[in-house]
């Protein structure tokens, strides 16, 4: 029994964290807000992540990937959440790459190389992100790979202005079908999304802790007020207990644990609830300054609102757990 990340996992995570600290300032997220209709023109960070092996991390080494698992990806995803990365790392690295690899699809090489990105959609929800080159679309329990440019897209506006969404219309072509386990891909997505939410929550908490120490009212930092302290302690409590749940779920996926789906659901509601609390208390502890789009925090808040409901809401995931418990 040992619940800790390996030296390699920690090193890899810190390498990605360093890259993002350098290359992913808030201005980058803001830039994505400012050009809401265009796909990102600056692919340099994505390229560097691909060069480091992050994008192809889950693909077997024989296909040019790193042959690693969900737990190896975990720390990187947390970091991507911390900086509110807009690129489709969850969709491409955690969901699509293993699907393409398992299917032996020819697009895999260019995806791993960082030349093409992939978003994911399901037939029962026509709204997908369309800032990618390719779309992995579920229809009737089968995956299809389509070129994003080839589907009819009606733009939709997200509360998170950096998300480029559209409802799409497309007809599945048998020639584009890929074999693949949809449920397993969903579980990977749920856990990856949870990791990002943990990162988002940590950033919101860190920013808030920093702010309340410098903002003074009544002659002292507002962070010296117990009402503020206790709110932030509650955020830490939620985040600190969600983190291990997410890591455990990733481990269960790697181990093929029969309860991996249940662990994924627990991870998702814990992480989403923690992130939403971080938004709530983060905003409240900042006061009006965080209630303006001129202050960066709103981008993290809105990302949380958007992502907390992706891949199933907390209520849906608790319901999956409820069914597992036979309640």
């Amino acid at each position: 029994m040992r619940f800790a990340f390996t030296e390699d996992q920690l090193l890899f995570t810190s390498a990605v964290a360093d890259l993002l600290a350098d290359k992913y300032p808030a201005e980058r997220v803001r830039a994505a807000w400012d050009t809401p209709t265009e796909a990102p023109d600056d692919r340099s960070v994505w390229q560097q992540l691909a060069d480091m092996g992050v994008v192809g991390l889950l693909a077997p080494e024989s296909t040019g990937g790193m042959g690693l698992g969900a737990l190896d990806l975990h720390g990187l995803l947390v970091e991507s959440g911390r900086v509110a990365m807009t690129e489709p790392i969850v969709e491409t690295a955690a969901v699509a790459v293993p699907v393409l690899a398992a299917a032996g699809h020819s697009a895999l090489a260019s995806v791993i190389a960082g030349e093409q990105t992939v978003a994911v959609g399901f037939a029962d929800d026509p709204v997908v992100r369309v800032d990618t080159d390719l779309l992995l679309l579920e229809h009737g329990g089968t995956w299809y790979l389509a070129e994003t440019a080839a589907v009819t897209a009606t733009p939709q506006t997200s509360v998170d202005g950096s998300r480029r969404l559209a409802s799409i219309e497309w007809t599945p072509t048998p020639g584009h079908a890929l074999p693949g386990d949809i449920a397993a891909a969903r579980d990977r997505a749920i856990v990856a999304q949870s990791a990002q939410l943990v990162g988002l929550a940590r950033h919101l908490l860190d920013e808030t802790v920093a702010y309340v120490q410098v903002r003074e009212q009544f002659g002292k930092p507002v962070g010296a007020q117990q009402a503020i302290k206790h709110k932030l302690a509650d955020v830490l409590l939620a985040v600190d207990y969600a983190g291990p749940m997410v890591a455990r779920a990733a481990h269960s996926i790697d181990e093929g644990d029969p309860d991996a789906s249940v662990h994924a659901s627990m991870a998702k509601c814990s992480a989403a609830d923690a992130a939403k609390l971080a938004v709530r208390h983060g905003l409240q502890s900042h006061g009006a300054i965080a209630y303006t789009v001129e202050y960066d925090l709103h981008m993290w808040m809105k990302r949380v609102w958007a992502l907390a409901a992706q891949w199933g809401t907390s209520a849906e995931h608790r319901d999956r757990v409820r069914q597992h418990l036979g309640l």
Binding site: F3, Q213, L232, L327
Partner: protein
């Protein structure tokens, strides 16, 4: 990450499980916070001891098995899973013993550990006083140096099961000129000593689980000073993190409580609406979260990292989870929930209401949750003290 148990650990688990199945009393014992129940629990502690299950993690010479922290966790899981009796020895074995191991002299260890493991000597924790609760450093009970020892005067209060205990450990002011955290000393004393008077006090549930302890010129020998004179604060703080953290309330206890709650839901399916089902699910998730987080904590401890102020997060988590578990049970029981003791229609002999009342003390004892949130925000998050 390796979340599997090795063959030794599996073997240990199955031994523990078998032993508990054969030895746990079929009928629950009366509350250990009553005179009659306490004595029965004390006998149970002796039964545990005789099979070397009372203090599994201690060295063999003191009645333990030298079990690893992992084995200790397994033991706790099995213990609560089996519905085994409340541990009336807890304040000795979980709160005093770690201090004895860390700060005690060889003679003190020889003198006190074995009878504690056997359950023959039972210890009360004498920290709180009428005017020193959260503000523990406000302690007024004092000990004055005399030949060969100390003359003690003052009052302790809220001493758990003090009316049934044989001994007390606690903090006393030994240097009256020093203020607050300074000049305190950790002392141990038998409760039947001259000048010591114990008065039992009924707790919220009516059981005599509290006591007030009065000292009037009681003598405590130099041999019973634990750690250095005037260094009691540091000694006391060394236990708080084990108390709030792992040892006092291991995950097994809450995993088992949620399983009992699921059992209750299965027995009264008509009372389980969607809201209650959702609440039970969340409670189950919380217990899982505590379990998973504990695996992380134990790994850290085994790696030699200190857990420190983070143990305050634990304390908040388990105590508030415990309240929720019992609130859900009472909600589920509806009007039957108020029936206690031997009422013919009481469910589980009113155990859920009793458990609820006890759960409500969780956010108060071992440092209130307000104090824990202060600690988390100041020492973990680094917010200004004032």
């Amino acid at each position: 990450m390796d979340l599997t148990w090795n063959a030794d650990e599996d073997q240990f688990r199955s031994e523990v499980r078998t032993w508990l199945a054969e030895n746990v009393p079929a009928e629950p014992l009366p509350s250990g916070d009553t005179e009659v129940g306490f004595r029965l629990h004390q006998q149970w502690e002796k039964t545990l001891f005789d099979s070397r299950y009372s203090v599994v993690s201690w060295p063999e010479q003191y009645g333990g098995r030298g079990a690893s922290l992992w084995q200790w966790l397994i033991f706790e899981e099995e213990y609560y899973r089996a519905g085994a009796p409340q541990r009336v020895s807890q304040n000795g074995i979980f709160l005093l013993a770690p201090i004895l191991f860390e700060f005690g002299t060889e003679a003190q260890k020889q003198r006190y550990l074995l009878p504690m493991a056997e359950g023959i000597e039972q210890w009360g924790q004498g920290w709180s006083e009428p005017n020193a609760g959260s503000d523990l450093a406000g302690i007024k009970s004092h000990a004055t140096k005399v030949d060969g020892g100390w003359r003690v005067n003052g009052q302790k209060t809220w001493t758990t099961r003090g009316a049934f205990c044989t001994h007390l450990f606690g903090l006393f002011r030994t240097d009256p000129d020093q203020e607050r955290h300074r000049g305190l000393t950790y002392l141990m004393t038998p409760l039947d000593a001259d000048g010591v008077t114990v008065r039992g006090v009924a707790r919220l549930d009516g059981d005599e689980g509290f006591a007030e302890v009065f000292f009037e010129d009681a003598f405590v020998s130099d041999d019973d000073v634990l750690g250095g004179v005037d260094e009691g604060w540091a000694v006391a703080m060394a236990t708080t993190s084990s108390e709030r953290g792992l040892t006092l309330r291991s995950p097994g206890r809450f995993v088992a409580a949620v399983e009992r709650l699921r059992g209750l839901a299965a027995r009264y399916p008509e009372a389980v609406d969607a809201r209650i089902a959702d609440a039970i699910t969340q409670a189950w998730i919380d217990a899982q979260a505590y379990q998973v987080s504990t695996l992380r904590t134990v790994t850290k401890m085994l790696d030699g990292e200190s857990v420190g102020a983070e143990s305050s997060l634990n304390k908040i988590f388990w105590s508030e989870m415990d309240v929720r578990i019992h609130e859900i049970a009472l909600e589920l029981l509806g009007a039957r929930g108020e029936l206690i003791d031997d009422s013919p229609d009481a469910v589980d002999a009113g155990g859920w209401m009793k458990g609820f009342q006890f759960a409500l003390s969780g956010p108060i004892y071992a440092g209130t949750n307000e104090i824990q949130r202060n600690i988390v925000s100041e020492r973990v998050l680094g917010l200004p003290r004032r």
